[in-house]
């Protein structure tokens, strides 16, 4: 696993009065080429380890402090119950949902929509057209659906929003399922580090 680059995009300082607690700034990130390969062959059910990511640490993690985890097109949250034996254990209180709207227009978390993973369903639904992507059987391409923003509660109760931009290495403008390396995520996210704060601006 390698990161080509991680950029700190913006810092936002919110006013601090005498008695107000000092709020941490929002963290906006772009993550490129996060590889989440299945070890099984084409046409086979995905296999192998999930790649676990922490919004706060801005990197992949091995321990229980992960917020979301990737393998091929599946995205897990660290909250609820595992659906299959090869999924990582859920030790946190993470949850998520798919919001319809441009990334910048999602300004706060609708807590009523947050769900955790369960044995049968995922917080981020799997399958073409159900969650964050479409799959075209002809071109065999996985394409992130425009206007889908993934909203998360992290493993320790903070919030983040995320937009997946590409499923192929280096996010090519016109990926080719046969020549481009897939299962390789590019996404941006905004992390709200302050406990109890559900807004993103």
């Amino acid at each position: 696993m390698k990161y080509l680059y991680i950029i700190m995009l913006s810092l936002l300082i919110i006013s601090c009065g005498d008695d107000d607690p000092v709020l941490e700034p929002l963290e906006a990130m772009i993550v490129t080429n996060l590889e989440a390969m299945t070890t099984s062959g084409p046409g086979q059910p995905p296999a192998g380890d999930f790649v676990k990511y922490s919004f706060a640490k801005q990197t992949t993690v091995e321990g229980d402090d992960w917020d979301i985890a990737f393998r091929a097109t599946a995205i897990l949250v660290n909250g609820g119950f595992a659906g299959a034996s090869d999924e990582p254990n859920r030790s946190g209180i993470a949850a998520g949902y798919v919001a319809v709207g441009a990334y910048s227009s999602i300004k706060s978390v609708d807590e009523s929509l947050l769900v955790q993973d369960s044995e049968t369903d995922k917080a981020i639904p799997t399958g073409s057209g159900n969650g964050w992507y479409n799959y075209d059987p002809q071109s065999k391409l996985v394409t992130p659906i425009a206007g889908r923003t993934l909203v998360f509660k992290t493993h320790n109760g903070r919030y983040a929003k995320m937009e997946i931009q590409s499923y192929y290495k280096d996010a090519p403008e016109n990926p080719n399922a046969f020549t481009s390396q897939g299962q390789t995520y590019t996404f941006n996210y905004t992390y709200q580090p302050n406990e109890g704060v559900t807004t993103f601006d």
């Binding site: 319809v100 709207g101 441009a102 990334y103 910048s104 227009s105 399958g127 073409s128 057209g129 479409n134 059987p137 002809q138 394409t143 992130p144 659906i145 425009a146 206007g147 889908r148 937009e163 931009q165 590409s166 996010a171 403008e173 590019t186 941006n188």
Partner: protein, 692 residues
């Protein structure tokens, strides 16, 4: 197959030889070209002078066909205003009338329907222009006379029927790029009440390849034979009998299956049409017409490897029709038509387990009210009873009002419908390589419950309704025709088609192994509307110019709503961020150009009718697919660029009977190898015609 071809080719040779021997003495004076007023039959199922029609229509004359250089129907028809050919499945070409998809235009030969819409579109390149007398196009819904399929309009190909007394012959040979060869022999003989006619046409091509290195040609090599014989006998009081047999057969090296080295793909088509038309003037005012028709279309596709047949597809469709009509003319110049009959249609097809049979009976009535010199009102209604669907009642009203000799107004309202086809009802298709299943509406319940019992279903949309109803439309036309001078007519027509219950393919479920299940349902509402302007002009006697323009807006009503509600997005190609699309970002339906312009110039060089014929066809940008993955066509999608196609032909009469034609199709060499696979670029042709 080969031996069949050989026997047909012998027949062809025989016709050529016979037609070259002057068995019948030929009297020069007896061959009179009768200057007849152009008439049209398709608009009213009975002859009516073209200039008196109440609906928007168009006639492509034999002369226009012959001097154009074209050899197949799709080519000539795409040069008409408001008629656009669109590439369909597997290289086929259908037509769009008033922005309505090819599935919804009825195609007739001599008033009788052609079947064999394997994937919905009827491939017009199947139809040879060799023995065509004229082509009639009626725009706007015409189900009041024709029933199903006549939503966008009707195209009727009228073939040569030995109009002239004596022996008429036409033989031509055309050689074009890609070793495309077109050979025709057409012969007809009329002696008073008796006429016999026959023709045979062989058309073959090596095909072409636009994309190198993919192991297959874009269009594979093919050869086909089109032919027919007919006898017509007028027994005076006993009436006129016209018996006609037509066939089409084709061998093609390509199928819908994927090809790769070592795999041979063979497609074989056989089509037969037999008709008997009976006509009798029962009294001074009553005319009887009876059409009996049988047609059969068989297509077999095979994917062959060394060890045997890997895959095959069979398609076998039959139609029997009876159409009886009585026309009663009144003393005031009005007349009414009553017609009735039935259709029986069957299909056997790979991936359809049942053997469906569709039976329908119909009854129609039309009144042509013509008592006032200035005003003509035509109103009609048709009732179709069908064994599978709810019955249909299709009205139509149209009028023409002459303000003066120079100015008239035409208007029409009509209902059109198309019953769901066999595929939409009975298909049970599983594509193991791409991993999807398509189920027709009549078989889905059974298949789904079977999958449920076997516990193979991971998800199924219980709300999915399986009743399909006919797709239908209300079509409106309003047109003005103005004669700038007696030979410069200008016509403006406004049209609007409201289309309901369009059938779409939808995802209805998923199997445990991940296979997506698709089925059909009536979901969409759409409209097409626009303006059509056309005119002719002869600036000098030797030059005739015709031109036309169509402005078209074709939109899905649900899509308009979605854009309004702000739930449609696109992704910026550079920043990769998605953004919301606004209402005016919606472009419309696929395959539609907003602008279409046609200009034709014909220059007659001398008395011999030698001529130079240039046609320019402009098509505005359009798109066939959604390229930015939001399932709508918006202005951020990739479009097929606006382009100009030019055709030029030069016709030279060497003698009175022998002519030479040089033809360059797609003069400017426009190509789009990624999107327009039916266009190989510039094509050169040379043709020799013998005709008397």
């Amino acid at each position: 197959m080969r031996s069949k071809y050989i026997s047909k080719l012998i027949l062809l040779c025989a016709i050529i030889i016979i037609s070259n021997i002057n068995v019948f003495s030929q009297d020069e004076d007896s061959i009179k070209t009768i200057e007849m007023k152009e008439v049209m039959v398709s608009a009213n199922k009975t002859e009516k002078p073209f200039v008196e029609l109440t609906v928007p229509a168009k006639i492509i004359s034999k002369e226009e066909i012959e001097s154009s250089g074209h050899s197949r129907l799709d080519e000539i028809i795409s040069e008409q205003v408001g008629v656009v050919t669109v590439p369909g499945f597997g290289g086929s070409e259908g037509i769009q009338l008033q922005g309505i998809d090819p599935e919804y235009t009825l195609i007739l030969i001599d008033g009788l329907p052609i079947i064999g819409r394997v994937a919905g579109i009827l491939d017009l390149s199947r139809i040879s222009l060799g023995s065509v007398e004229r082509i009639e196009i009626v725009k706007g819904a015409s189900s009041s006379l024709y029933g199903s399929e006549a939503l966008g309009g009707v195209v009727n190909i009228i073939t040569n029927k030995a109009k002239n007394e004596g022996l008429s012959k036409k033989i031509y040979y055309q050689y074009s790029s890609y070793n495309t060869q077109d050979l025709l022999a057409d012969i007809s003989y009329r002696k008073k009440q008796f006429a016999i006619y026959g023709n045979i046409n062989r058309y073959s091509s090596d095909g072409y390849d636009l994309v190198e290195g993919d192991g297959q040609n874009t269009v594979e090599a093919f050869q086909n034979l089109t032919g027919g014989v007919g006898i017509s006998y007028d027994l005076d009081k006993l009436g006129n009998f016209d018996f006609n047999y037509k066939f089409f057969e084709e061998d093609r090296d390509g199928t819908i299956f994927i090809t790769s080295p070592g795999i041979e793909n063979k497609s074989e088509t056989n089509e037969n049409n037999i008709s008997l038309k009976y006509q009798n003037k029962l009294s001074k005012s009553v005319n009887l017409n009876i059409d009996i028709y049988n047609t059969n279309y068989i297509n077999k596709e095979q994917q062959i490897i060394s060890s045997g047949i890997l895959n095959k597809n069979n398609f076998n469709q039959s139609l029997n029709r009876l159409d009886v009509r009585l026309k009663h003319s009144t003393s005031t110049g009005s007349y009414y038509t009553i017609g009735f009959g039935f259709d029986n249609e069957t299909l056997e097809r790979t991936n359809i387990t049942v053997k469906p049979e569709h039976k329908s009976q119909f009854l129609y009535f039309q009144y042509d009210w013509n008592t006032n010199e200035k005003f003509n009102l035509v109103s009609g209604i048709r009732y179709d009873k069908h064994n599978e669907y709810s019955s249909q009642l299709s009205p139509k009203v149209s009028f023409k009002y002459d303000f003066s000799e120079d100015l008239n107004l035409k208007g029409s309202f009509g209902y059109g419908y198309k019953t769901p086809d066999f595929r939409q009802l009975y298909l049970n298709f599983s594509n193991s390589t791409s991993g999807y299943i398509v189920l027709g509406a009549s078989v889905i319940d059974e298949v789904i419950s079977e999958l449920q019992n076997k516990n193979e279903l991971s998800f199924y949309n219980e709300l999915f309704t399986t009743d399909l109803t006919a797709e239908n439309s209300n079509s409106y036309n309003l047109g003005l025709q103005y004669y700038l001078s007696p030979d410069i007519p200008i016509e403006i027509n406004l049209f609007r088609n409201n289309i309901y219950n369009l059938i779409e393919t939808n995802i209805v479920g998923r199997k445990n192994n991940g296979q997506t299940i698709y089925s059909y349902s009536n979901v969409n509402k759409a409209y097409t509307q626009g303006i059509e302007i056309q005119g002719n002009w002869n600036p000098i006697k030797k030059i005739s110019i015709k031109g036309g323009y169509q402005l078209l807006y074709a939109k899905d009503i649900d899509a308009i709503e979605e854009f309004k509600s702000g739930t449609v997005f696109a992704r910026d190609k550079v920043t990769k961020q998605s953004f919301e699309l606004k209402s005016n970002d919606y472009f419309g339906l696929y395959g539609r150009s907003r602008h279409q312009l046609n200009i034709g110039v014909n220059y007659y060089m001398n008395q011999n009718k030698d001529n130079l014929n240039l046609r320019l066809n402009f098509r505005g940008k359009f798109a066939l697919i959604d390229s930015n993955n939001n399932s709508f066509l918006d202005k951020y999608d990739s479009f097929i660029k606006a382009h100009l196609l030019g055709n030029i032909s030069y016709n030279k009469f060497l003698t009175k009977n022998i002519s030479l034609q040089l033809y360059i199709k797609n003069l400017l060499g426009y190509k789009d190898v990624e999107n327009l696979l039916n266009n190989p670029g510039r094509i050169y042709s040379l043709k020799v015609t013998f005709k008397n």
